[in-house]
């Protein structure tokens, strides 16, 4: 596992939502977005999210447990906010058939692979095809090569991934959940691509 530094510490209880109320206000300035994470087990899907959520943690937020559903609000420069509701999916092969239950209605799909594992890249391409077939046609897709810090063991080239992403109209980025490199950029780039007037959900 490549995100040892993302291990929750003693006060890890605060992982989670900044939203303390139960009203879901969604207007042109404040978006609520369902984002689904897909990828082989072991590629560090949940590490990416933990990193993203931990980076901007609000100590007053309510105690939340669990790393499979997390939400995080991103404030953008144009004074709008995007609340990402991040749905993790089980990456083991035996659970692959259940994924449609999770990506149904999602506005964003983040497909993650491990740059040191060619199998995980093959799996990522499988998810992209599945999404093209079954997800909402206007879903925003991002291809994420994680564990970029392990570049000496790289077996998926940037060029290959970049080409594949372009061909499929996806946004591509390499991240390291371990060093936090490009984690925020990933979510900011996604936020930029969201249609401003579309109601999420």
């Amino acid at each position: 596992m490549g995100c040892s530094s993302s291990l929750p510490d003693r006060n890890a209880g605060r992982l989670g939502s900044l939203n303390s109320g139960n009203s879901m206000v969604t207007d042109s300035k404040n978006l609520r977005v369902k984002l689904v994470l897909l990828g082989d087990s072991g590629v560090g899907k949940s590490c990416i999210v933990l990193r993203f959520v931990r980076g901007q943690f609000d100590p007053t937020s309510k105690v939340t447990v669990g790393a499979s559903f997390l939400s995080q609000t991103l404030a953008l420069q144009d004074s709008t906010t995007v609340k990402f509701e991040i749905w993790d999916t089980a990456g083991q092969e035996r659970y692959a058939a259940l994924a449609p239950l999770y990506y149904r209605g999602a506005a964003v799909a983040v497909v993650v692979y491990d740059i040191t594992s060619p199998e995980s890249f093959v799996k990522a391409k499988y998810w992209v095809k599945e999404l093209q077939k079954h997800a909402s046609p206007d879903i925003i897709m991002a291809l994420v090569g994680n564990k970029a810090d392990l570049h000496e063991n790289r077996s998926v080239s940037v060029q290959d991934a970049q080409d594949y992403a372009e061909k499929n109209g996806m946004f591509f980025i390499e991240t390291s959940a371990k060093t936090a490199n490009n984690i925020n950029q990933l979510f900011e780039e996604i936020a930029k691509r969201l249609p401003r007037t579309t109601p999420s959900s």
Binding site: P8, A12, G16, N22, S46, G66, W87, Y95, L101
Partner: protein, 375 residues
């Protein structure tokens, strides 16, 4: 979990009290006529769901503008709609829950499948990492799921699911804090939830999930709550479709396990039949208006429980008929008594097995008796 919407306790009695206020006569009329309107049509899940959802939205607006709620806070209004949902769905429960024969069959199928899987499935078959093995936690989580039929209101059923997921999440969090284990999100969570669901074999799993999806207020089935509900739905889907390959087993091994499990279950069923004579321990004690009523079932023998049709003689018919009449009369009386307490049989039966919910039920009954039963 941040879902204050799911976890806060709306005050149902406050809702009932406001409904008793003369000023809310118009609301009461609307609610009653809505409930009555259901009896004009044959049950149709999708249609019923749409009707309820529309009704709740309309009533939300009505209540917002109602004199009784003029100065009400957002929470109070929300609590009123929660109360309304609970009241209406409790009234419509028998019409809307497990209402089609397909639902009844799906419930039986999934429960039967689980009863077989329970014999041989191990956490490893589902990719539950060793470090997360914790029978005690799993048992607590399973108990939450088993409570699901204790409630009729969609919100309360959903709470059982949320509580189960919370226990699993706490386990995952504790392990990641006390060891070097890196939390793996859904890669950990879903396998544990599926294993817990198999351990629990929750009553009427399919119908409960369907009922919550159809009749829980739409605006409350979002975010975290929606995510965890989706996880249990996906657990049910996975279990329904379990085969050799989904457990990484050889086809022949899977078949053998299923056959052995079937045999074991049949044996247990046969043994159960012979000890079904109720013992003194099963005698029901209840209290009404402070008076102890002891329902003694002792001394009743049911000698035909083990018999097969070919063993019966014509002379047996008279005794059989007498026993039949005795049982039916008793059952009818019990059902009536339960109905007067607004109690559901399944719930009572469940309570017999679970001491915690039994205390809860006792308290509730006492409260009802004090307040006078609704209606």
């Amino acid at each position: 979990m941040d879902s204050s919407s799911a976890l806060s306790q709306p005050n149902f009695y406050d809702f009932l009290n406001r409904m008793r206020h003369p000023a809310s006569a118009d609301l009461v009329r609307a609610i009653k006529s809505f409930i009555v309107s259901f009896s004009f049509h044959a049950t149709d899940a999708d249609n019923d769901s749409r009707k309820l959802q529309d009704f709740l939205v309309t009533m939300e607006t009505t209540i917002k503008e109602h004199p009784l709620w003029v100065h009400a806070s957002h929470e109070e209004l929300d609590s009123a709609i929660e109360g309304l949902e609970k009241y209406v769905m409790t009234k419509l429960f028998n019409r809307t829950f497990a209402s089609s024969s397909e639902d009844v069959k799906a419930d039986l199928d999934v429960s039967e499948k689980i009863r077989l899987l329970q014999h041989f499935i191990r956490p490893d078959h589902l990719d539950v990492p060793r470090v997360l093995h914790n029978e005690a936690s799993w048992l607590f989580a399973a108990k939450e799921l088993q409570k699901i039929n204790t409630f009729k209101a969609p919100r309360e059923k959903l709470l059982c699911i949320m509580n189960c997921c919370r226990i699993i999440n706490n386990l995952l969090l504790n392990i990641s804090m006390s060891s070097n284990y890196v939390p793996a999100g859904a890669d950990d969570f879903l396998p544990v939830l599926i294993y817990v669901t198999i351990k629990a074999n929750p009553p009427q799993l399919h119908s409960n999930l369907k009922f919550i999806q159809l009749f829980r207020r739409n605006s409350k089935l979002v975010s975290e709550v929606e995510y965890y509900l989706t996880n249990l739905i996906s657990a049910e889907t996975f279990i329904t479709n379990i085969n050799a390959s989904s457990l990484s087993m050889e086809e022949s091994e899977f078949e053998k396990n299923m056959q052995l499990a079937k045999l074991a279950n049949e044996e247990t069923a046969a043994r159960h039949g012979s000890i079904l004579q109720l013992s003194g321990d099963d005698a029901l004690t209840t209290r009404r208006h402070g008076k102890e009523i002891h329902v003694n079932l002792e001394g009743c023998e049911y000698p035909f429980m083990e018999s097969e049709a070919k063993d019966l003689t014509v002379e047996d018919v008279q005794q059989l008929l007498r026993l039949y009449q005795h049982v039916v009369t008793r059952y009818t009386r019990l059902t009536k008594a339960l109905a007067r307490l607004s109690l559901h049989e399944e719930r009572l039966l469940h309570t017999m097995k679970d001491p915690a919910s039994s205390t809860e039920l006792k308290k509730e009954i006492e409260k009802w008796l004090h307040k006078g039963i609704l209606d």
